[in-house]
């Protein structure tokens, strides 16, 4: 069974999210979308597949301190996927104040959702005129930019060319890797927003030819996914929980002045896989809350396969892609978007993963 692609639309109130949603639903592209809305702003659209849901953030008791999922999405997506009459995709419109983290993690954590649906892209709509103020006022605006695969820089007609440059600069300071599309009235080509496969390891190379500085369309569809969700214990036991300390969830650091940045790392030497796994494991354990998104394509010592990895907070998955081409320059590249990223520390850590 094919997994249904899911596109998440985020953006601050008034940025143009609903306008974009209306366009997707009304333009004649021959595709049918189910829509999950958290704000009822789509009145008047004739679509029996619009479902309202209240944002419900659930903490997971799995030893992963930043592991939160959206219970409402698990419920609604599971319900939608029971339908025989299929649709081409699911659109999730989040509230202006939503944290995209739990939305993305839902697709890693919930096996039932992951079996039937896959996260395609996070699309963030920002208002060119009001973004500077939003970034000052709220951590959510910053997070929504940090998580984005595509940023619709909207209402460009309301700012001067200089202001636009400044806004782009402040977006790039947070997220150096997202595709930015400048628009007025959310008029972006839909094929640059939908069906991008931004979370698909196979597609990382295809859709980001610049990622390693070379275009390469070959990819091997037969690969194994390795989902890591913290510790698993397969011994069955029954406890009286009164004798156990319950897991405490550490408070998230939601200071408004905490800034999100992007870090890009490159190594020319092959990577020692066990060393890399140890380093990434420690990083995820100790800094998972601050790591919002990361991706990498690695040259593993002793392997002719390129290893692609990606993650959100503590959740990481990896898979072998197609072999390196004989004439390709073998490199390992890793990008992080997160809070309190210490570029030097990350670079040193990554360098220590190299063979030799």
């Amino acid at each position: 069974m094919n997994q249904i692609p899911v596109t998440v639309l985020t953006g601050y109130l008034g940025a143009g999210k609903t306008t974009l949603l209306n366009r997707i639903l009304s333009e004649p592209h021959g595709k049918k979308y189910a829509v999950i809305v958290n704000e009822f702003g789509v009145a008047g659209i004739d679509n029996d597949l619009i479902v309202g849901a209240d944002e419900e953030i659930f903490e997971m008791n799995n030893g992963c301190i930043c592991c939160t999922v959206r219970g409402d999405l698990i419920r609604v997506i599971s319900g939608l996927m029971k339908r025989a009459q299929s649709f081409d995709g699911i659109l999730i419109e989040t509230t202006g104040l939503a944290d995209p983290g739990p939305v993305a993690q839902t697709f890693f954590v919930d096996a039932d959702v992951a079996a039937k649906a896959k996260l395609d892209s996070i699309v963030t709509v920002v208002d060119a005129k009001h973004l500077p103020q939003c970034l000052k006022d709220s951590k959510e605006a910053e997070e929504q930019i940090a998580f984005a695969d595509v940023i619709l820089l909207n209402k460009t007609d309301l700012v001067t060319p200089d202001e636009l440059k400044q806004v782009e600069k402040s977006i790039r300071a947070i997220n150096a890797f997202a595709k930015i599309i400048r628009t007025e009235r959310s008029q972006a080509p839909l094929d640059q927003i939908l069906g991008l496969g931004s979370f698909d390891l196979d597609e990382i190379l295809k859709h980001e030819p610049d990622f390693l500085g070379a275009k390469d369309d070959h990819h091997d569809p037969h690969h194994g996914h390795d989902h890591e969700h913290g510790e698993h214990c397969h011994d069955h036991d029954c406890h009286d929980p009164a004798h156990h300390h319950h897991h405490d969830h550490a408070e998230h650091d939601h200071q408004h002045d905490s800034t999100i940045t992007s870090v890009s790392l490159v190594i020319d030497k092959p990577i020692d896989l066990p060393r890399f796994e140890n380093w990434m494991g420690d990083l995820r354990t100790n800094q998972g809350q601050d790591l919002l998104r990361y991706k990498g394509i690695l040259d593993i010592a002793g392997s002719d396969q390129r290893l692609a990895i990606q993650g959100v907070h503590m959740m990481m998955e990896g898979s072998n892609l197609s072999p390196w081409k004989a004439d390709a320059k073998r490199q390992s590249r890793l990008v992080f978007i997160g809070r309190k990223l210490d570029e030097k520390q990350l670079r040193d850590g990554f360098n220590l993963c190299a063979v030799g």
Binding site: E56, A84, A111, H234, H236, C238
Partner: protein, 349 residues
């Protein structure tokens, strides 16, 4: 081993979303991915399936109704239906436009029906009239179940369960708290223990007399199916690569290891169904394999060989007499096994 001990098979070419029996155990209903239902008389004779249009969208919850002949179904069209398989059409008893009815339940004494919409639970009396105000909860409902004596209604949600008295003058719930998102609910047949399945592949339970809690873990997947053997000696569960049966006697389940039956391969049990009379559990797997496993240590019997991905067992029910087992697969097939067809297949093998 036989490849299959099927007595009869129906291919509906539509996904099946749930399978249930009525209280009498003489009909089986399957809700389909197009909102319709199929009904099979639950006896050994060869029969045709009866079809009926029910929901405009799909059924989200299909359960035995308070009427022993009938089924109760809530759907994403906001409609609650009583469905008597002998009639030609379902009976609408409640409607909430543009909302989803996520869960339904009927009390054993046939006095009440309950259904949930998001965070709210509504109750209807035997006449189908509203019974009391809407019961509100802190988060969306994950499951609903009346206690065996019908005096209480349990509603699971995030961070616990709310226990409501069905005939209380004031609607104030007893709260059972435990961190996490609680989904499925099951009462021990004696009504003294209540268990929930959690989002994180574990079970939690409460003994109501003294609030002594229990937690069961070590599962590989979410636990979608739980069933007690007739006298409540064992609770069989899905969610692992074996059938995990927790003992509820001799001080258990506290400090006890469960019985682990059926299968050593890495395939996960998706459905379990305890035989209505004997200490025997049927289990269906994610790849379509089905076994019957006695709880007394005898070898389990493979009654249906694995098929593969997309053919997982999503529903498994016995008829009232326990001589027919019905299994529904994701791919839209219902299989009937009889004790006779199983015996024949084993003898021939």
């Amino acid at each position: 081993m036989p490849n299959s001990a099927i007595a009869q098979q129906w291919d509906f070419k539509l996904p099946i979303t749930a399978l249930s029996t009525n209280r009498n155990g003489d009909w089986v209903a399957a809700s389909m991915g197009d909102g319709s239902m199929r009904f099979l008389a639950a006896h050994e004779e060869v029969k045709d399936a009866k079809a009926m249009d029910v929901h405009k969208g799909i059924s989200l919850s299909l359960k035995p109704d308070a009427d022993d002949h009938a089924f109760l179904s809530g759907g994403d069209d906001g409609k609650l239906f009583i469905i008597d398989p002998k009639l030609d059409a379902p009976t609408l008893i409640a409607e909430h436009k543009n909302q989803w009815i996520d869960h339904v339940a009927a009390s054993i004494d046939s006095t009440y029906r309950a259904y949930s919409i998001g965070k709210n639970v509504h109750m209807l009396n035997a006449e189908g009239e509203k019974h009391g105000p809407a019961l509100t909860h802190p988060s969306s409902i994950g499951g609903l179940a009346f206690s065996p004596n019908s005096k209480r209604l349990a509603a699971s949600h995030y961070n616990g369960v709310s226990l409501w008295w069905t005939n209380a003058k004031e609607a104030v719930p007893v709260k059972l708290n435990w961190k996490g998102s609680h989904l499925g609910l099951i009462w021990h047949p004696d009504g003294k223990i209540l268990l929930t399945s959690l989002q994180e592949n574990a079970l939690h339970g409460w003994r109501l007399s003294d609030n002594n809690e229990m937690r069961m873990q070590g599962y590989a997947a979410k636990i979608h199916s739980m069933d007690f053997t007739p006298k409540g000696k064992y609770m069989a569960t899905s969610g692992a690569d074996q059938i995990i049966c927790w003992p509820f006697f001799g001080g258990g389940p506290w400090g006890k290891s469960p019985l682990t039956l059926g299968g050593t391969d890495a395939r996960v049990v998706t459905q379990v169904a305890a035989h209505p009379k004997d200490e025997l559990v049927a289990a269906g797997y994610e790849d379509g394999m089905i076994v019957m496993a006695p709880l007394d240590g005898r070898m389990e019997v493979l009654i249906h060989a694995p098929i593969g991905k997309g053919s997982g067992v999503i529903g498994l029910v016995w008829n009232a007499t326990g001589d027919c087992l019905f299994a529904a697969t994701e791919s839209g097939t219902i299989l009937m096994f009889t004790i006779e067809s199983v015996r024949k297949a084993v003898t021939n093998a």
